[in-house]
Symmetry: C2
Subunit: 406 residues, 2 copies
């Protein structure tokens, strides 16, 4: 089966190399004989062994009827959206690792794929090499999924792991991540939570059935998290992680949020360290399931792309029921209305302890090592009301972070 790859960056070149290396194994294991016919990139790759396959012209792919599957690893919305749409219209399957594209245009592209009786698949867009999208859509087809919670961004998880393990601050940990190539020069999309937000939108759209757009999801990054937060949380038996979560509420609406959160040390999410990702899924039949692995990297992500390509080879004209419907207006509940429990760090001023005790009856209070600060965990209350109470408390609040029970 002839394949074209659009975008010869980290993931795209990984796909080409993986196919070259493992084509015989893939053929033996699956019957699919994969062959890369064209690679689209605007850059020159004169020295590369793949130079003969390179093209700068999209029409070389669009108009080549031999090409049955197109891999999109360009990233970004433009021109990826235009190219992918045109490939689908030409009845070519498309496999994408581009989370921005799927999170913003998933509904349109899935509809277009359905109209043209081809697949639009994107296992690699969430969790790199971890099988997530397929298990969610297939193995769990007999389940009603109630909630998902994940560590979906490797860069921030690396930074947070370093902060607590090496007792260092955010900026030093970020600098290390950049040095090791785990964070980009401009780390905004990662550290501000946008990348994790796109991924939870993709998963929640798939699981709950309607497109969820990232801009509708309350998203907080990790730039405000300090080592002091982590150390105090540790004394309560928690670690702090950037958690992307989505949950079906009793009235059918959704709670969906991305933010740093305290995770109990006993949770399967707690030992997920460094650049690893994990996704916890709660099904009505299965109970808790955790899928864990490398969330990024050339080889891991390429392996997810190749899995999707093989699916296309095997399932021509299949996967009719894969995907989701258009956005449902008003589906997302305002996060401030949802009951949460907060971990709060305050200055240990003269009457701070009494204030906490009277406002948050029964809250466990722990002093920081220096005794200059107090930490406590509130009971569950609507977040808006809880934050109002805190701001009216007279306490000098240094930070307040959600507590999860996942």
């Amino acid at each position: 089966m002839k394949i074209a790859v659009m975008g010869f960056g980290v993931v795209g070149s990984g796909v080409v190399k993986l196919i070259q290396k493992n084509a015989p194994v893939i053929r033996e294991n699956t019957g699919a004989f994969l062959e890369v016919k064209r690679i689209l990139d605007i850059r020159d790759f004169d020295g590369s062994e793949f130079a003969p396959l390179m093209t700068k012209s999209f029409s070389d792919i669009e108009n080549d009827d031999e090409i049955e599957v197109v891999v999109e690893t360009m990233g970004g919305l433009n021109p990826a959206f235009d190219f992918v749409s045109r490939c689908l219209k030409k009845k070519k399957h498309v496999v994408s690792s581009n989370k921005e594209l799927v999170a913003q245009k998933g509904f349109e592209l899935l509809a277009l794929a359905r109209e043209n009786n081809v697949n639009f698949l994107f296992e690699a867009s969430v969790g790199g090499g971890i099988p997530i999208i397929r298990p969610l859509s297939r193995c769990l087809a007999g389940n009603r999924i109630d909630a998902i919670a994940g560590i979906l961004n490797g860069t921030t998880n690396f930074i947070m792991t370093k902060m607590i393990m090496e007792r260092t601050d955010f900026s030093s940990a970020l600098a290390l991540a950049q040095k090791l190539g785990y964070a980009e020069k401009d780390p905004t999309a990662d550290v501000e939570g946008l990348d994790a937000c796109r991924k939870i939108c993709i998963l929640a759209s798939l699981v709950f059935g309607n497109h969820i757009y990232p801009e509708k999801v309350h998203t907080e990054g990790i730039t405000g998290i300090t080592l002091a937060d982590m150390e105090l949380a540790e004394r309560f038996g928690y670690v702090i992680k950037l958690i992307a979560q989505a949950k079906k509420l009793e009235d059918g609406r959704l709670y969906i949020i991305v933010s740093p959160a305290l995770v109990p040390k006993e949770s399967m999410l707690a030992p997920v360290n460094d650049v690893f990702n994990a996704c916890l899924v709660q099904g009505d039949m299965t109970g808790d399931i955790l899928l864990y692995g490398k969330g990024a990297g050339s080889s891991a992500t390429a392996s997810a792309v190749v899995g999707d390509i093989i699916d296309c080879a095997d399932n021509l004209e299949k996967r009719k029921f894969f995907g989701w419907k258009e956005e449902k207006e008003g589906q997302i509940e305002d996060y401030l209305n949802i009951p949460v429990s907060l971990f709060v760090r305050v200055k240990n001023e003269k009457d701070a302890r009494q204030k906490v005790e009277s406002l948050f009856n029964g809250a466990r209070i722990i002093e920081s090592e220096s005794k200059a600060e107090l930490g406590f965990i509130t009971g569950e209350e609507a977040e808006g009301a809880l934050r109002e109470k805190l701001s009216d408390s007279g306490l000098t609040v240094l930070s307040s972070i959600r507590v999860t029970s996942y």
Copy 2:
């Protein structure tokens, strides 16, 4: 699509109930309309709402051409093997949760399924509701899998968790497991490791391509593990788990073994507690992947069965390349030839420490709390040679347990 269920026990009744409860959701999510037409069981279920579907005669299923998928949840080899073979010959897809059947007869049944152009699927035979078989065969199709290590038996994991958490001995923990319904009256297959052995055989057959029979796999249970082992291992930073593992050696042969083993506290396998299972997969492209969830139970296992049924609905005449070949003679290396490192507990006799120091140069030695015993961890050496050295050492060896690096 009409379905028959053979065996109305815990899993079989779970499948029937799940289909009844979630049929509309399944139809919406996958397009498959599932309907249970017949249930085979030798017992009477007069009061049951499913009584009209019950039959004691296999021929009611075998000769009903409307039935396209047969679910086998009887357990045991006989008559399951006969019935499943005959269903496949009648060109019915078969979905099984029966690990004994798959581990002993997988190769024959897969070949029979292929001949008759139908599926023989068994996601539920390993890891209950955790998606393992499908991710291994599909998502990882572009990978070369080098090793698998798992906690594949919930009963023993529950017992071992209780032992260390509640500081109790094996027989008390077993009694509790029996009381809670996690262990059978005759717990032999679980506590002696046979159940875990069947499951690793299924996974290793799938991943490495040739049938591996349980009787060829060195298997040790947990009956010899004491709280003293666990407490001393804890001081070295390890937990003890029943680990089933399979690994491709450099010469292409396999190391496959089921035994209690020390797992580092930092491992993703370490926090897998109670009846939960987990499977760690090492791929050349993906790196480490962990799949975690409930390894047993009616609903979780039923959900895996239903996933397979939906696959049959969607993929009539597909999955040609799913499965493995016949046994490869001499494929399994004698475990005594494989280098391992051992955790050893010995009596703290007069010159025990000197003996350890001279025989196992550089080994870290830790005293038990009572000081009556010493623990140490050896370097890596062929297991046979290492055990010989131990038995010639003059040390009073109380236990010796493999150490893993997973």
